[in-house]
Amino acid sequence: MSLSMTRDNIVLRSLEQIGNCGLFLLRMLAAVPRSLRHYRETIRQLWFVGAMSLIIIMVCGLFVGMVLGLQLYDVLSIFGGTSATGTVVAIAIYRELGPVVTALLFAGRAGTSVTAEIGLMRATDQIAAMEMMAVDPIAYVAVPRFLAGVIAMPLLSCVFCALGIFGGHLVGVNWLGIDNGTFWSNMTATVEVGKDVINGVLWKSFVFGIVVSLIAVFQGYTTPPTSEGVAYATTRTVVASSIAILALDFVLTAFLM
């Protein structure tokens, strides 16, 4: 009996969580016009979640491209098709690895800090203080961080992809000796702007940006105002974001293909 009760509770609680998250998104969207007055805050958050994530994104992109180049060269040399290395590196990065790995890194680097920051604001009653001063905390705290995440994600994803291609080129051409012209001409002949860059990189990372930012801001905003609550909220941000990214990646791929 108690088992069925707890299961009931888990189902009900997760439904409640999802419902609250959706309502929170609507509240934030409604608050977007009001938050335009705080555009400086949005820019500050863009600096914080975007520009500060640049180093980790660039380093990871470089290494992902390099390892792809290495592995593909190894496999393709069995078939004598090493000239396709550039093509496969580009397609793999554009369609899957670029947006997904960027989103996972973004959730770990920026999402957690946003959750912890808002959670601590909540725990130290700063949000209550704002409400008392007639400052809408959704428009001043939540929306700028959300918008910054949505804007930063596609840009970070593009940087990741560019560095990934560079890494693949570094390994394939400079170390393993694929012809430079073959590498690029095969890539440009196969990769398409609409299908790979716009659908693959931009759309996916835009959706991931919305999802990751929403989860991070929501978890921080609704955290129980204790230090334990903040810790849990931070963990939940990473777990929920990762699951959402990977599940959505499949759905988006099915739609955009």
Binding site: V159, T190, V197, V201
Partner: protein, 283 residues
Amino acid sequence: MSQRPSYAVGTGLFIVLGFAALGYLATQTTSVVNTSRGPTYTVDAHFANIGQLKVRAPVKVAGVRVGQVQSITLDPGKETADVKLAIDQRYDKIPDDTVATIFTSGLLGDQYVGLQYGSSQKTLAEGGTLALTRPAQQLEEMLGKFFGAGGAADNLAGSYTVKARFTNIGALSAGAPVKMAGVAIGSVQSVRADPVKLDAEVTLSIDKKFNQIPDDSAAAVFTSGLIGTQYVAIQPGGSPDMLKEGDELVLTQSALQIEDLIGKFLVNGSPSDKKPADGDAKH
């Protein structure tokens, strides 16, 4: 101005870098230029089979892109595809007996329309029709020709078995086709090594329809194409007696190993290289 926050510059830099990366991805690593520009004129071509041809596939003359496929439609009631080709205005001197063929780039690449100019003095007008076309070669058909599987071998109405002995069967396995004149007439039923004669005894199951095979026919293990599967080819002899159930094909030719072949090339190569030297020595 003095209140400008220090992060604003960094944020601007980040945004510029992001868009620069996007521009790099979109222009340097993709084929933006693969769309035709400038005025075009259209001609029709009717194909019996367009294979995998898609709208916007290139149209090429002598391998150079001159236009693209504008539309592919099927006229109701007809069994030919109507393909409209949008060709660059610069290349409007196309003879009216030009042949349009659907080619495949490489072995597995995309398909495109290749134009081979005819010798006619008259050029094709806007909206004209290319009367001479060659349909796409389906890979399945070509593979079917190589492997010859299907048809005859599948619908066996009854079969009889004959044996053949080979000193080397290569990679031949049970189920491989038996062909005569390139057409499948049966399949390999079993392959086993003879413990006494130390060779391979292959049992061939041949369709009853083909019971007029002379009993001095030869059997050979061939390979389809360069890297294809192996099959048994029957080369008919001239004997008046026919093969019967349980007979043995005496004349056989074993599988040629690609290693042997390459070895022969290499070995044949070296003496001919030496010949001029010998000739020089005689003089």
